[in-house]
Symmetry: C2
Subunit: 327 residues, 2 copies
């Protein structure tokens, strides 16, 4: 199977019509229209086999996740996704693998009306680079840099689940990975968090009306909140027991692992935002009407640095080394 046959296979799985795609997949570049009064939002992220996902991850899940991590970045900007490009580096031209990969990618793309408008296939070590494009009204995209002292810090979902899922995969016996029964539903939930993260597009669009800053938690809550704090020139206090997911993980795995996973686990793809406390009740009501979570976990301070308080209110000593990475 040659490059062009692989591309045809991917195009067939990912077929989706949008009126604003003027020239789609199959020319030197794609041409798309951007709605009047809107800016283009664009980001790119690479997944490397064995680094960003275990080598034996199902191709459907790799396809889903490669798009999800990029849509999550658009969500953090308050953007509406529209288009994607896929650069796929494959060790062999395995049509079954590619079809399953494309199906996972397409399942998520269809949920958000995202058209695959271009890409590239190469032979090489398995890596997937997706570029995602979307829109936001001029000047309305959410930035990392707008947090102000006094703002409430919120997250839009459970944190640490993907890290628990990865722990589960690397520590449980091979045979029990499949056919998890009902009593193992939380295991399945952790694995889903790892393999099928849900980009919080709707939450990002809601946050655009309320938030002073936003980011998606991909490197870990501490690292990503750290970006917001540095880029906003502020600090923060957060309450560990307020972080959704922390209590359940503590009960299942003990506090040490739970602390590490909620603060430094990463791969959450949950939005973190700051907003004025005056707007919090209104924002929470809007989130409740949409049936999505908005949980306060702390406050922005003028004093720089991030202070994490445990259940007794005392500050944890954070292992700075855990925040930096090259992954």
């Amino acid at each position: 199977m040659n490059e062009f046959a692989l591309i045809d296979l991917i195009k067939a799985e990912c077929a989706l019509q949008r009126a604003d795609v003027r020239i789609g997949n199959g020319d030197d570049a794609a041409a798309v229209a951007i709605p009047d009064g809107h800016e283009l939002l664009v980001c790119t992220d690479t997944l490397v086999a064995g680094r960003h996902f275990p080598m034996d991850t199902r191709p459907e899940d790799i396809g889903w996740k490669s798009l999800a991590v990029n849509l999550s970045d658009l969500a953090a900007m308050g953007a509406t996704p529209a288009f994607a490009l896929l650069a796929l580096c494959l060790p062999s031209a395995d049509s079954d693998w590619v079809r399953a990969f494309a199906r996972g990618f397409a399942d998520l793309a269809r949920l958000h009306d995202v058209a695959l408008i271009g890409g590239d296939t190469s032979r090489g070590p398995l890596t997937i680079t997706v570029t995602a494009l979307g829109f936001a009204p001029h000047g309305r995209a959410l930035k990392r840099s707008g947090a102000r002292p006094g703002d409430t810090i919120v997250v839009c979902g459970d944190i640490g689940l993907a890290a628990a899922g990865l722990h589960h995969l690397t520590t449980m016996p091979e045979r029990s990975r499949d056919g998890l029964d009902d009593s193992k539903s939380s295991m399945q939930r952790w694995l889903d968090a790892l393999n099928r993260p849900t980009p919080q597009i709707e939450q990002g669009l809601l946050l655009r009306h309320y938030a002073t800053s936003a980011i998606d938690i991909s490197d870990g809550l501490a690292a990503d909140l750290g970006h917001v704090l540095r880029q906003s020139g502020v600090g923060a206090d957060i309450q560990l027991p307020s972080i959704p997911g922390f209590e359940a993980l503590s009960q299942s795995f003990g506090a040490d692992l739970a602390i590490r996973w909620v603060l430094c686990g990463g791969d959450d793809y949950v939005l973190l935002a700051t907003l004025s406390p005056d707007r919090f009740d209104e924002a929470r009501a809007a989130f409740q009407r949409s049936g999505v979570m908005l949980t306060p976990i702390g406050n922005v301070t003028a004093a720089p640095g991030l202070r994490v308080h445990d259940i007794r209110g005392s500050a944890l000593a954070l292992d700075k080394a855990g925040w930096d990475h090259f992954a």
Copy 2:
């Protein structure tokens, strides 16, 4: 050196201001404005070490080429480039390598006022995926699908030089790769064609006024002209001796290698286009005024297929296998 330090280093080398970049590098996604009355053109291409360039290629050249192959795709659409994203997969966090790579990338980016607005760095086998974005007036982008019987087929530069450069690298003694003296200036030209291809942006903008179809020659003249013919539902006759570069390569390397390189060598990044013969003189005059090449090499036919005629006018039997690839 961690991911964030590497990113800072790349950003410093590639610093370039554009007023239409509303949110640049350093947030979850970039935000850019698209000019009124224009479409966005976007493409992505990956270079894999050892496949798309020799492992010992200088990092400056890899940086240049990774952007060049993408700007060449925009050129083939008649687009004005504006922005790029860089997804860089590196085996190690080698700051000297990254600085040199970024310098090569930035050298070309500055020539075309292209702002680096985002990206990603990962640890993994050396692969570089660039996404390039540009503009064209609504409905004016050049497509592969517009060629009509009777059209003249033109190319905008010499073909086969990069293949000669690669041959030179793989067959010449190691010691003579450096310090090529003046008598070896054509060798240097072949190596430059391989390592520092020049995206034909100006030629693409000129072709927008004349061409019925266009493509950039990246996979080889026969394969890329083949895309135009299939997507336009037509065929073609081309004259081998008319292809710029063929005579010189024949003299240096013999006809067999020269034929293979001009038809199937690839890595040329020269534009190929079709235009009505009525418009040819006007187009050639416009190209001459701009000091760039426009050379007729054949004609579009209603009969499907590609027929390549040699110096005596007889058709060559083309090795179909040489056209397909997965690279």
